[in-house]
């Protein structure tokens, strides 16, 4: 699964996710990637999220919407909300994977509960960072 989240210089955010799904999937199985609010979400009032991982758990937890809702209603930073979802709620359910996030304030982050997640970030005033593990 691949994805991107961005905040532009006008203060707007967007998210996109794309995937081939699971090797050997059957029965027309669909994961969280194309489900708005599960694997992909963007709201100028909070931020943008793209997810990868065990899709059924991300669907059940409504991960991407939940992160943005926590930012909007609880005042958490998007990193705090992402960590809460990935490191606590999703993990307690048995779900594995990660998210990338940008906040409405332009902050960038990621959170994952697996051994690694291939990722990168760059900003107008931040040099590019690329990490694999």
């Amino acid at each position: 699964t691949v994805g991107a989240v961005a905040r532009d210089s006008h203060g707007h955010v967007a998210a996109a996710t794309s995937t081939g799904g699971l090797t050997g999937k059957r029965w027309g199985r669909i994961g969280d990637s194309p489900l708005i609010g599960a694997g992909t979400y963007a709201d100028d009032r909070a931020g943008a999220v793209s997810a990868t991982g065990s899709g059924e758990y991300f669907i059940r937890a409504g991960v991407s919407h939940e992160i943005c809702a926590r930012v909007r209603m609880l005042g958490e930073t998007i990193q705090q909300a992402a960590d809460l979802l990935l490191q606590e709620e999703l993990k307690a359910m048995g779900g594995d994977g990660g998210v990338i996030v940008v906040g409405a304030d332009g902050s960038m982050g990621w959170s994952f509960n697996t051994p690694g997640m291939f990722r990168g970030r760059v900003g107008a005033e931040a040099a590019a960072v690329i990490a694999v593990y």
């Binding site: 699964t1 691949v2 994805g3 991107a4 989240v5 961005a6 905040r7 532009d8 210089s9 006008h10 707007h12 967007a14 998210a15 996109a16 996710t17 794309s18 995937t19 081939g20 799904g21 699971l22 090797t23 050997g24 999937k25 059957r26 027309g28 669909i30 994961g31 990637s33 194309p34 708005i36 694997g39 992909t40 963007a42 100028d44 943008a48 990868t52 065990s54 594995d96 994977g97 990660g98 990338i100 940008v102 332009g106 902050s107 960038m108 051994p115 690694g116 291939f118 990722r119 990168g120 970030r121 760059v122 900003g123 107008a124 005033e125 931040a126 590019a128 690329i130 694999v132 593990y133």
Partner: protein, 173 residues
Amino acid sequence: SNWSLVVHGGSGVFTRASLSPEQDAAFRAGLGEALAAGSAPLAAGGSALDAVEAAVRALEDNPIFNSGRGAVFTAEGRTELDAAIMDGRDRAAGSVAGVTRTRNPVTLARAVMAHSPHVLLARDGADVFALEQGLPQVDPGYFRTEERWAALQAMKAAHARGEPLFDKNLKYG
């Protein structure tokens, strides 16, 4: 000019131990290309929506990632692609599931958002919508890579031996 961009690009094949230095370099290069593709419109004052589409298209076109060209195979040996895009300005959204012939599924998802009254289109209907939108089409063989085909055969062999089908640390690492 306070723009920002984050990308992720998974393979679903490699663990840390099995990732060679050459493969590590290829993943880093692919992620770097996606950052470059997405940051170009942002640096020019363009929209976040254009940026995420450009970044994801770069990842879809790169066969080392599990999306677009290089996507994994279903049990039947087919490639079925899913994608979504969302605009934070008004929470407009579009997505597709199980599409088989559109070169860049994220662009099809954006077309659903921009040119249909719907949010999610699936399978044959989404393929037809892509044709109606005039989006670039490819033979399904375009998406195939030998690494993904080998992964499906290995999974089937493991299943035949009674071994678990799924290693979550591999898939989601």
